[in-house]
Amino acid sequence: MIPLNVNGKTYQVDVEPEVPLLWVIREQLKLTGTKFGCGEGLCGACTVHVDGEPIRSCITPVGDVRGKKIVTIEGIPVRHPVKQAWLAEEVSQCGYCQPGQVMSAVALLKKHPKPTDGDIDSAMSGNICRCGTYPRIRIAIHRAAGAKKKG
């Protein structure tokens, strides 16, 4: 049994410690907002937060995050400035990469409340979007940063 703390809830999961966190979140906890895109840490679709840091859950063994604070896309409130900016800028297309994009953006803004374009490039280039929503993601992050400042 592995104890997990996800979105403020505690779970005991019966899996091998080597199983990637992604599949435990999706299959055992049925939180399917976190996506599988490459399985090798190359696309960012599986991004979640572990103790506030964005990580690739597809290459993170569940045994490594025992008892740590995990947050998935379902744990970010709809009112969060990043989600609001995503809606306002109409970022999503197919939407498949977007949970990962949002998780990376939320983490970026925690570190850099007023990110430069360079900060955005380095924080967001690990997240692939095949629909090419990058220009809107960039604008939405700047918007969320502005909204944060005002709020």
Binding site: P20, C38, I73, L87, Y96, M124, R130, C131, G132, R138
Partner: protein
Amino acid sequence: MSEIIKLSRRDFLKTGAVLGGGLVLGCYLPFGNSAGAADPATTFAPNAFIRVGSDDTVTLIINKSEMGQGVYTSLPMLIAEELACDWKMIRIEAAPVDPVYNHTVFGLQVTGGSTSVRTEWERLSKAGATAREMLVAAAAKQWKVDPATCRAENGFVLHSGGKKLSYGQLADRTAKLPVPKEVRLKDPARYTIVGKPRHRLDSPAKIDGTAVFGIDAQLPGLLTAMVARPPVFGGKVASFTADKAKKVPGVVDVVQVPSGVAVIATGFWPAKKGRELLEIVWDDGPEGGLATPALRERYASLAQSPGLVARKEGEPAQAVRQAAKQLTAEFETPFLAHAPMEPLNCCVDLKSDRCNIWTGTQFQTVDRNSAAEVAGLKPEQVHLHTTFLGGGFGRRANPASDFVREAVHVAKAAGKPVKVIWTRDDDMKGGYYRPFWYDRISAGLDDTGNLTAWQHTIVGQSIIAGTPFEAAMVKNGIDESSVEGAAEIPYAIPNLQVDLHTTKLLVPVLWWRSVGHSHTAFVVESFIDEAAHAAGKDPFAFRRALLAKHPRNRGVLELAAAKADWGKPLPAGHSRGIAVHESFGSFIAQVAEVSVDKKGTIKVHRVVCAIDCGRIVNPDTIRAQMESGIVFGLSAALHGAITFKNGRVEQDNFDGYPVVRMNESPTIEVHIMPSTEPPGGVGEPGVPPIAPAVANGVFAATGVRLRTLPFNTKTLQDGMGKG
């Protein structure tokens, strides 16, 4: 698929691709937030697309797959414009498979060819208007007044005397009225929804984790399967041992299916681990020696002589020979994987008399019928539930139904509900690529720099050959999709020939976002640029002069040039390239502002895009699709290539098959030309112009002409060294 739209529906029926019927039931709600809502007690459903509930909800049943292009918003806008319903009360359901939802031109249920808005505009407008007229008639009858004194607005019918009833209140009574045969449509000048930007209905579900994609399908007791497929196309399993695989905890069974060996397990991880431990001896078949360099040589030698003629004007061969100046060039574009962000998957629950399938597909009728064939059921016993698609780009519209057929085979063997998941490696090595193309063009200029002759030979595989669509779409040996964008070159050239060598390989090929245009625009728009330079003329002015008879091409060319400040100074080291191309009924010009560093790395700073797509529904979707197409096309221009060695694909994930990321994404500006022309497509046409626009910009910056995709940094570095 752009050319299909020109065919009559009868052509399609003749192909035999249309089979069987179905029932309107088992609708699938792709939105998490509405799936839990109970259906209202009474509903009024005047047609297959609209249900008005007594609780004032308006459920729109959408027959096109939502894969990012915005059809779950643009098609509802068309209905809502006529229906005059309350936008906030709209719910969306994915249509089940039924002939009433067939494509109005193709005659089967499919999303493709950038045709959704173009072909549904009239039908959905009428569907909305019919419902509105009936609601008005019901209210007028109830009030005993002349319907002409009533009007519909925002989910209510209002009487000039001040009476008011909501659509929900009228649903029951309206349901009993006859459906009118003729309805009057709104004058487009009075549109209040269509043509104005509107937020996507699916956006909230896509950032809260509730949007259901195929990979998210859940069923009690669902198993997960992964299939080991032959490493060479056309290969098969010679023998295999599964002893080690079966020992992996969680592996339930290992079975052979026509496409390979399936490991069935309790979840993704045991399935993957089990598959890694399979011991399979493969029979590679005839393509075991396939190698990209040899293929290139074979294609290049074919390109030296003309193939089957797709178009001929004047005497091109003679005109080239007699020209004052001649130029010839050869171009190469690689196999490409679609690499949608969501790898392929398909979930199947097969019972003796019924089969339920959940998957993200663009090709419902074909997939449903294929599944029925494999399951040994009648088509109407198969219920295909279309989920959201995590990208399609053509990969999820496969005449061979590869991922659906296979999943039904696995479900048959499993005897339990099972979801087949493809890993990224599987998806990338799994074929159905954009074909590898080789092109050779010769042109002639007279002594004042006029383009007098053009001879274009294309070499590559046919996408359509061997599919049920061959009879309708391959004419006199020419697959129209192989030459589209080249045969109808708009420039005024008196002597012109476009011809085609169709090659045969076991590498499966498929339409890849913008299909034939994905290579022809690169070739034509690069070579016309070469001709301009050879003539000593400005590439914009040269094109413009040759487009006198094509005002829409010329219009967007001028608009893009003006917005990009064509001809005006740029920061040091930056230069511009331009391209214009028509596809899927839309006209698009792009100007790319680029720079190249000493190592030959290309940076695209800014892209200005002008589009004339006729009458528009949602301008914001058009902008988004242009941005999307540009980034997608840029990935192919800068990075994308599937190559072969010993018959095996050499790429397996986003490291070997890189795509554009945030740090390479340019600033994009989109300008929409106001137009009253019939609507054009927007999902695909943003792709074709970007590669040539960038190549032409690189030439302007460096004097090096890039004729191979993806652009080779080494070629560029060497060329710059020489210059």
